[in-house]
Symmetry: C2
Subunit: 362 residues, 2 copies
Amino acid sequence: MLLRPSALVSKTLRHTSNDMRYVERMRLLEYWGIKDAALTSEFRRSQFLVMVDRKPLVRKKGASIQLACHSYPELQRSLGEYGFSFDTTNSCLLDAIEGPNNLMIPLLGTSLKAVEPPEDSPVRKDDVLRELAKSLNAQFMDMRMAMLGLTDEKDRNILAKFQSLSRWYKTYLRCPKCGSPLHMRVSKAGANCLMCPRVYYPTCSPVAITLVADPTDSYALLVRHKASAPGVYTAVAGFAQPGESLDECVRREIAEEIGVPVSKVVSLQRSQPWPMPNSSLMCAHYAVTEMSYKIDAAPSELESARWFSRDEVAVALKRTLDDPFLKGIPRDINERQELHYIPPQGAIAHQMIRAWVEQRQL
Amino acid sequence: MLLRPSALVSKTLRHTSNDMRYVERMRLLEYWGIKDAALTSEFRRSQFLVMVDRKPLVRKKGASIQLACHSYPELQRSLGEYGFSFDTTNSCLLDAIEGPNNLMIPLLGTSLKAVEPPEDSPVRKDDVLRELAKSLNAQFMDMRMAMLGLTDEKDRNILAKFQSLSRWYKTYLRCPKCGSPLHMRVSKAGANCLMCPRVYYPTCSPVAITLVADPTDSYALLVRHKASAPGVYTAVAGFAQPGESLDECVRREIAEEIGVPVSKVVSLQRSQPWPMPNSSLMCAHYAVTEMSYKIDAAPSELESARWFSRDEVAVALKRTLDDPFLKGIPRDINERQELHYIPPQGAIAHQMIRAWVEQRQL
């Protein structure tokens, strides 16, 4: 196989999306998604995103955080030096991007696992990973931090796809119906059972995420999850179940989690893919309930659910914008139930709450 | 176990949804969804929907079609006479409904398979099912016909849940990661692997369904699927993939299926659960493209994609409303690619196309 020349040194990921070039790109992506031989033959021409132990490789420039993108030769050299190997089995198809000579090439995601050195080894895993990242002129970042901190929404969605597909192809090894091995496509866009005729696809689950306000739209009912960082309040969210519309999902989730009925549900017409805990599609909503209802937060899910005025939420928004990595989260146990922060800017909950504070459309 | 008296003879399904009673109902449903012993102890007090060979039991009154609902004793008597048995293993939890004395009781769905009699038997399966349905003062209806024809949207969503859960619990028998048997909850709202700590849930997959119009909003670009009945045109639809928003899904699907880019995407703020081919959540959208683009319908999916004026679509809408079971579909092969019908009223595509014809909000 001929390696194309190394015009492939764009150090961060570029996205293209205009008109017929976009149509061509989507159809090529669909083709590579199905045709194992075609995608395999592109492997060494591809560009790659990398994650090790669920930590993606990113590049920071001042306040900007972007996904780091590498050619096959670059990656082979650096990963090889640190004892990692990568091939079509631990890679998945993420996008079709501009390559040299106006040709489209695959963007692949390679997900690796670092082996812990023996206890008596002088080498520590974290040091190895730091050196590896340095050799690629980048750094590894916690998945959640990367999702919340990436500057570009397109980078964020590509990372969501990367993590969702990686998780999916590592889980779907056997047919849930008959237990036989599954044959996974090179793209990881589908898997066939080798015994029965079933085909499985990586899916995403719709989640309704809702900003609950009072009838005058002056107060917001925000919640603190058990797993949240101290002092962080956010919007209510829950998975849609089979047989319900998104509106019904909003009503049910608010009943289950906060114990109040709502009188009005509106779609905010925005959605965001999110890879944690699984592959989700967050769909933004707004709902209205009376402040006179007694709040009864479900203890299995929530630590607290409380009404806040727009001014109180505005203060928390400003604090979050000034301190986007929430370094000032309260240490004092008495402070953890107070509203200090909202989720950082990468989360759709942040955008929803911010739009509400600023009294504008999402 | 004490059987409660037979106030349980409401012959069609009633739904309740007001205020705190609604909150109580949702929380009870959540509780039964998790607690096997609690739901099992309610089994004989429950009301039941039934399907045999994927055909739900419905009741027709004039033009109205409703789900038929039965108490445990009624069902045990009739099913027993025809050699069927039902218990918690082939039933799933659908709702919490009003029982006697203002108590909530479960609404369960029982899904059965009819065995074909031996070839030399004088009895035919269809006759047995017809007799069984008659003994329950109801009739079996094809799943798609029932979904399209049920009068009440709540009935339709409950049937979507019934079919989605039935399909799910019959497929998820083994852990896709380790191949060990799964322990299915009585409600069928989740299943635990008996070996590894994984838990699986029945999911629904978001689908963007889109009415594509020209920039003047005078023409609609409708499609005919390979599997559609002759003469039926509808809106473009496709599953959202991990890592894309619904807007991105709309753009990609239209590029893949019709080969044109779109300049604008708007959410129509309505969604509908749909159980075919799998559990889907149809999310209604509107998109704009230029009529000057060359249409290039993907032959793997579509038989045809064509522009129609509002008047042409209005004629097909009227024909569909006058003949809701599409009995007049063209037999002539030359007519199958003409626009005769749109989908019947139970489909969100019908509602979207109708709202467009009538130039009003969905």
